[in-house]
C-alpha cells in the first residue's frame, strides 16, 4: 500500500457521522486562523486550523460524497499525493498543539481539535511523522518511556526522590485505593513534583501506590495520533491498575496523557471505565476543599505577583479550571493575578501536542511563546503557576531562551511547600 493509501484508509476509518457532520458544517470563514497561536505568531496562512485539516476534508469529500466523486472524475479535484501527505505532516506536527482554542472561536462550533487529531491518525498511518517524534514513540514502545525512563532508571529515580526529599513513595501496594502514575517529564526533569505529590497524598492519609508496571503516564502514541500505540500505552497503565486492584487512577501533571486516559480510553478499551480517572489538580481541589489537607493562607503572598497558565488538556479540555484558582486565592490572595484571556479561552504554551519534541518546530515554538511572554508581562507576574509538566517544560525552556526572570512553578509543588504541619 502506498503512503497515501494508508493515510486515506485511516481518514476513512476516522470518518463517521460525528466527523462528517462537522466537516459539512465548515463554511471556510477563516475565523479559526486568528485563534491559533502559531498563526498569530507567524502570520503563515498555512497555519490556519481549517487548512491544517484540509486533507481530512478532501478525503471525506472524495470518498463519501456524490459531489466529491463527480469533481474527482471530472478532474476538478485531484487525488491526495504523497507530497501533500508529507507537507501536511509538517503543518500538523510542527505547528499545532491540538489545543482546541480554534473550537472556541468557530461560529459553527466545530470541535476542530478533535478533527485535527483525526488528521494526525492519517498522517501517522502514512508515517508522515517528524523523525524525532517517531523516535520518541519507538522508544516508548521498546523501553516503556520516551525519555529513557527504563525499569531500572524509574527504580533508581524514585529511590533517589524518596531519599532526597525524605518522603515515602509506596510501591506496588495491592489493595491501595489510588494508583498514581507520574510522567517521565516529572520523574526525569521535575523530581521535586514527584516528591511534592507524595508528600501531599501521605499527609492526606490517602491509600495510594505507584506501580512498577504502570510507571509512565505520558502517551506519545496519542501525540502521534496512532490508535494502536495509544492503546498499547494506555493498556500498560490499565494493566498495572488491574493488578493492584485500585479504584482510581491519578494522572499527575501531564496534559495529553490525561486527555487520553480520562476522555478517550474507555471508548477504545472498555475496561478503562472500571476506574475513576482524575487529574492531580482535581485531587488537590478535593483534598483542600474537604479539609483533608490544610495549606497556609498567604504563603506565597510576598514573592511578587503570581499568575496561572491554563493548560489546553487539563483546563480547556479537562475541566479543572476552578480548582487551581481556589488554591491560589488561598496561597496568594494578594499576589494572584489573572492573565487575559484565561480559563477555557487561554492561549496555549506552544509546546504541547508533541511539538516540543520536534526540533524543526523550534522557531515557531519560540515565536508562539512570545504571545505568552506578552500575556505574563502585561500583568507583571514574577511567577507562573501551572498544572502541566509539558507546559512547564516549554516555559522553563522559553524562560531560558528569552532570558526572562520569571519563576515557573508546578501547582502541586506550591501546595506541598505550603502544607500545614
Amino acid at each position: 500500500m502506498s503512503t497515501t493509501e494508508k493515510a486515506m484508509e485511516a481518514f476513512v476509518h476516522e470518518t463517521g457521522s460525528w466527523v462528517a457532520a462537522q466537516l459539512e458544517s465548515c463554511t471556510r470563514c477563516g475565523m479559526c486562523a486568528e485563534a491559533c497561536h502559531f498563526y498569530q505568531a507567524t502570520g503563515n496562512p498555512e497555519y490556519a486550523p481549517v487548512w491544517k485539516m484540509e486533507l481530512l476534508r478532501r478525503a471525506y469529500e472524495q470518498r463519501f460524497t456524490l459531489v466529491g466523486g463527480i469533481k474527482l472524475s471530472l478532474g476538478l479535484d485531484k487525488p491526495i499525493t504523497d507530497e501533500e501527505i508529507a507537507h501536511w505532516g509538517e503543518l500538523n506536527y510542527e505547528a499545532c498543539t491540538v489545543c482546541n482554542k480554534c473550537s472556541m472561536v468557530c461560529p459553527m462550533g466545530i470541535d476542530i481539535g478533535s478533527l485535527l487529531h483525526g488528521m494526525r491518525a492519517g498522517l501517522a498511518a502514512a508515517g508522515a511523522i517528524p523523525a524525532d517524534l517517531a523516535a520518541a514513540v519507538t522508544k516508548q514502545v521498546d523501553e516503556g518511556s520516551p525519555l529513557g525512563m527504563t525499569d531500572k532508571v524509574w527504580d533508581q529515580r524514585l529511590e533517589w526522590v524518596a531519599d532526597e526529599w525524605e518522603v515515602e513513595i509506596p510501591r506496588d501496594v495491592k489493595g491501595a485505593t489510588t494508583l498514581v502514575v507520574f510522567s517521565s517529564i516529572e520523574v526525569m526533569k521535575f523530581p521535586a513534583n514527584v516528591a511534592a505529590i507524595a508528600k501531599v497524598l501521605n499527609k492526606a492519609g490517602e491509600k495510594w501506590t505507584v506501580s512498577s508496571k504502570a510507571r509512565e503516564i505520558v502517551n506519545f502514541g496519542f501525540y502521534e495520533g496512532s490508535e494502536e500505540h495509544t492503546k498499547l500505552f494506555l493498556n500498560r497503565v490499565l494493566d498495572g491498575a488491574k493488578d493492584l486492584g485500585v479504584k482510581r487512577i491519578v494522572v499527575t501533571e501531564c496534559g495529553h496523557a490525561y486527555d487520553a486516559l480520562r476522555w478517550h480510553a474507555a471508548n477504545w478499551i472498555p475496561e478503562a471505565s472500571n476506574f475513576e480517572v482524575i487529574h492531580i489538580t482535581g485531587v488537590l481541589g478535593e483534598l483542600i476543599g474537604s479539609g483533608r489537607i490544610k495549606i497556609k493562607p498567604g504563603f506565597f503572598n510576598d514573592g511578587g505577583k503570581i499568575t496561572f497558565h491554563d493548560a489546553c488538556k487539563i483546563q480547556r479540555k479537562g475541566g479543572h479550571i476552578q480548582e487551581p484558582r481556589d488554591i491560589l486565592k488561598v496561597l496568594a490572595p494578594d499576589a494572584f493575578i489573572e492573565m487575559t484571556p484565561n480559563r477555557e479561552e487561554s492561549v496555549c504554551c506552544g509546546g504541547g501536542g508533541g511539538v516540543i519534541a520536534v526540533k524543526a518546530a523550534d522557531p515557531v515554538r519560540y515565536a508562539s511563546f512570545e504571545l505568552k511572554i506578552d500575556q505574563v508581562n502585561t500583568v507583571s507576574a514574577k511567577t507562573v503557576a501551572m498544572t502541566c509538566s509539558n507546559c512547564r517544560l516549554q516555559f522553563t525552556d522559553g524562560v531560558d531562551h528569552f532570558k526572562l526572570d520569571w519563576k515557573v512553578a508546578g501547582l502541586s509543588q506550591m501546595v506541598a511547600d505550603a502544607l500545614e504541619e
Binding site: T15, S17, W18, A21, Q22, R28, E34, G319
Partner: protein
Amino acid sequence: MNQQTVLEFARGPFFYFALLFMLFGLAYRLFSVISLGWSKNRVPNKGSQAKGVFMTFLKGVLIWPFIPWVKNTFTRNPLIYIGGGLFHLSLFVVIILGTPHMLVTKSLVGVQWATLPLPIVDFMAATGIIAMLILLVNRMIHPVMKLISGPAEYLAWLFVFLPMITGYMMTHHIGGSYESLFTRHMITVDVLMIWIPLSRLSHFVFYFFSRAIHGQEFGKRGVAV
C-alpha cells in the same frame, strides 16, 4: 419565447423543480451523513452534556451576536464577525420578514405572519449586499482567505449575491421593465436553490449538529461553552 413566458417558467415549473431539488438534495445530504454511523461514548461525564448544548445555542444565537466585544474572536476578526453577522441578519430579515417572501411561503404552505415595513427590509437588504461585497474583497486579499478559497467558494458567493442584487434592483425598478427584473430575480433564486445542496451553502443544516457537538464536548467536561 417572450418575456412573459420566461417569467412564467421561472416562477412556475422551474421554481418548483428548484425547490424540490433543494429539499430532496438536502435530505439526501443529511441522510448520507447520518447513515455513516455514530460511535457510542462510554466515557463517564464530569458535567452535563444537555446543559452544554443548551448554553452553546443560547450563547451562539442570543448572546454573542449582541455583545461580541467580550470575545477575542471579535477583537481579532471584527470584519468577518460584523460582516458575516450583518449578512446573515439581513438574510433572515429579508427572507422571513419581507412581505413578498412571506407571501410566497403563504402561497406554498398557507401560513402567514406579520412582516416589517418595506423601508426597514430594504435597508437590511442594502446592508446585506454591502456586507457581501466587503466579505468578497476580504476573501480576495486576506492571505488565509485566499488560501482556503477556490472556485467553490466564489461560486457560492455569486449564487447568493445574484438573488440579493436582483431583488434589490426589482424593488427599486432599476435596469429594465418590471417583468424582466422579476424574471432575473426568479431565475437567480432558482439557481441558488439548486446550488444549495450541491455546495457548502447547506451549512445551515449541519450547523445544528456541529453546535450541539460543541455543547456536548464542553458540557461533558464541565467547561463553559
